[in-house]
Symmetry: C2
Subunit: 119 residues, 2 copies
């Protein structure tokens, strides 16, 4: 079971943790390197990483003495889906639809234009 939305949102509520996620977006990182830019003890960062890990937002794998941190998109996607299911999202759905078309253009589906709602 993926971790509860509680954990995901709680993990995302901290700016340090969001910054860490943004860093991991670029590449996997060792704990020490994650901690480097922050004005905070290594132990504190280690705790933040535990929180992110419990939320399923990252995974950690130890190789030798180095523990590598890796972004795990699924948890955040689940949170995003909860939001999507939320209603205000005509705009976002439309937007997602457009992104979908751009990203997957080669699928070649043809959307009959008569059914479109106004935008």
């Amino acid at each position: 079971m993926t971790p509860a939305l509680d954990n995901v949102f709680a993990a995302l509520a901290d700016p340090t943790r969001r910054a860490i996620l943004a860093m991991l977006l670029e590449d996997d990182m060792a704990v020490t390197d994650v901690a480097a830019p922050f004005d905070m003890s290594l132990a504190a960062i280690s705790k933040h990483l535990v929180v992110l890990s419990n939320a399923g937002l990252i995974s950690q794998e130890k190789r030798g003495r180095v523990k590598w941190c890796k972004l795990e998109p699924d948890a955040m996607r689940e949170a995003s889906v909860w939001m999507q299911g939320f209603g205000q999202f005509e705009a976002v759905n439309l937007d997602a639809f457009e992104r979908f078309l751009e990203a997957e253009i080669q699928i070649g589906v043809d959307i009959p234009s008569g059914n479109e709602q106004d935008m």
Copy 2:
């Protein structure tokens, strides 16, 4: 300025508050009516509503002795945008696309099944 992501995500981290948002999705509600389904004091719900309000997720307008609570999509959309900007989102686009199809079912396109992820 819209409230910080900190506040939005923190507000979303509580299941009671998420349930309240889901209720407000259906319709605007008075505080007392929001509180009704919960096994919790009215004061507690009132506090939750303050949290949601500070996060910008709802607005409250007092008319007479009744304070009406209304969903405010912007804050959540901003959080969603933060997530979207995050990178992992081919998957979410797909999901949004499927939702789009469900909502607009009469389009009748055929989704290639190779892209599905298990949940």
